[in-house]
């Protein structure tokens, strides 16, 4: 994928940036820094937290893709779990059928498979809007995992496919799970650098133009249909990669992991983080993992019965969706922006705002 970048003053985002460095380099450096932080975190935490970190990693790229689609381009997808499903099954099938393939090739092919599905979905979606698009993508999320029961010999039926990937080279004294977490984050950060460049670049501006006013975008020479399809393609590639990484991490791909509820919680993460900001995707992904974890802890502490405990995360995501849309439409990242704006202002103004 070619990424066209523009000097900082030409981009629409208000983020300040050193003019001397091209965005690609800045993003790459930031990714390197982020990777160092992740490696450090995995070294000082136990296995359990490693797994959570890795989980945040693959959710992050899935949520980032959906942010690009829904937040930037304004296309609602309720079926993003379907692209994760495709990515996960691609990795599972490749590992089982073609074990000689290296992992990076499996992951690339998982992203490609997701992208291909996204291209098809996008081609249909380019003509749909609002509730029509939401309905069609919801059908995708409900219908696709059922295919595993249609082809039980090939896709493993309801139990799915299990496999093992020994990704760690011999002679490296790192625990397997820690190594896997590094692989997950390395892949995610590479993908994020590309996505961040798209968002900042010309294509990103086209996305926002299409979201804000399709007619005006068309009049200023943007191919609206093609732009919408491209957004679907990029976000589905992210979804495919996320699913592939999930399968790699868990060693299994099963239809039960890709319910419509997954797609809706991804959307909840996008909305919670803040529609239209890649940083928001990070907060959303962290929230996805930790709300799950906290609700399990809470259920333990309060001795909630399993019915309540199992359904607690979904209830939380639902409440988040409602409360955020009603009360905080800009999400967590919007809150940070306001906080930063407040800190810059004189103290007396700050007090006024806090009373608000």
């Amino acid at each position: 994928m070619t990424v066209r970048t523009k000097p900082a003053e030409a981009t629409a985002t208000p983020v300040k940036q050193r003019r001397s460095l091209p965005p690609l380099l800045v993003h790459a450096l930031a990714a390197l820094g982020a990777f160092a932080v992740v490696v450090l975190l995995t070294l000082v935490t136990d296995e359990f937290t490693n797994l959570r970190l890795a989980t945040i990693g693959y959710y992050l790229i899935a949520v980032a893709g959906l942010t690009l689609l829904t937040g930037l381009t304004g296309q609602v997808s309720l079926g993003h779990g379907a692209f994760m499903f495709i990515g996960a099954y691609t990795v599972a099938l490749l590992v089982r059928r073609v074990p000689s393939f290296p992992l990076w090739a499996d992951l690339l092919l998982a992203s490609a498979a997701g992208g291909l599905a996204g291209l098809l979905a996008g081609a249909a979606a380019a003509r749909l809007r609002g509730p029509y698009l939401a309905g069609a993508t919801l059908a995708l999320a409900v219908g696709l995992p059922a295919l595993t029961r249609k082809f039980p010999d090939f896709l493993g039926g309801s139990n799915g496919l299990s496999f093992t990937v020994h990704s760690r080279p011999a002679g490296i004294g790192v625990p397997e799970l820690r190594w896997q977490t590094w692989i997950v984050w390395l892949s995610v950060l590479v993908a994020l650098v590309l996505v961040a460049n798209i968002v900042r670049g010309r294509l990103g501006r086209d996305f926002r133009a299409v979201r804000d006013d399709e007619v005006a975008a068309a009049l200023s020479g943007i191919a609206v249909g093609r732009t919408k399809i491209l957004a679907f393609l990029v976000s589905a590639v992210c979804g495919g990669l996320a699913g592939g990484l999930q399968a790699f991490l868990l060693g299994t791909a099963a239809p039960g992991s890709f319910t419509p509820a997954l797609s809706l919680s991804l959307l909840a993460a996008v909305v919670l983080g803040g529609l239209g900001s890649l940083w928001g995707a990070l907060w959303g992904a962290v929230a996805l993992v930790y709300f799950q974890a906290w609700s399990e802890d809470l259920a333990d502490v309060l001795h909630l019965n399993t019915d309540v405990a199992n359904n607690l995360p979904l209830a939380v995501y639902g409440v988040i969706l409602i409360v955020v849309v009603l009360a905080f439409p800009r999400g967590i990242q919007g809150g940070f922006h306001r906080l930063r704006a407040l800190l810059r202002k004189p103290a007396e103004k700050k007090e006024n705002h806090e009373n608000h």
Partner: protein
Amino acid sequence: MQDFFDLTLGGISAGAVYAALGLALVIIYRATRVVNFAQPALALISTYLAYSVTKATGSYWLGFAVAIVAGTVLGVATERLLIRPLRHRSELSSIIVTLGLLLVLQAVAGMIWSNEPLAFPYAFDFRGRFSANDLFVVLVVLAIAALVLVVFKYTPLGLRMRAAAFAPEVARTLGVRVGLMLTAGWGLAAAVGSLAGLLATPPFLFPNVLDGVFVYALTAAVLGGLDNPLGTIAGGFVLGVGLSYVSGYFGPEMVTIAALAILVVVLTLRPSGLFGRAKVRRV
């Protein structure tokens, strides 16, 4: 040939349910330009209440009545508490809020009644080709559809509701209580939706039981144009029969994919649905 006949009859009773739930979506969409993604969850809660009441009293019909009333109340509450504050916001806001409600209600149902399937009774005997229950389903849905159409077309209430939906400002100056009409629309729609839930659920009730039905109902409504109750009812029956053939000849796993394919093909050819009027956009 026998198969074909059976599949057609089975498809008609399934289609009646899609038509009813689709009708619930259309009533709300007409009034407020919102697609109520929480509709299956409102119906789900009503159906669970019917289950509990039936279990406690032994009377199916008492549970049935409680479910319809509860559905109406839930619909009214949803409009008042969640949808009204969003009336000046984007389409995306209302989609997301109804999705949030869907998640919450499904989770609450799972918390109270557990995620395990519960046996939920049919209204009448369900055995045999086009059973008494199938006949009941089709007749009830046709009766409800006729009632809704008559209310909309020929009663003062229906006139006010249409006025409130199409020209709220004009309606308001003429003394129509627009807000009340919108709330009434949500109540009516949720009542019809709950009825669809009661008819669609047997033999087993679990929190995700209506997911598939909702996709088909949405497909039926979209085929009808989301705006057109008659088109939606026709769309429901056509879809029911069509999907019944898909299930019979290609396997039940293919049904949702087939619905998706129909949705995509129809919308690609006619973006406002088979029976919808194209919206003119000026450039």
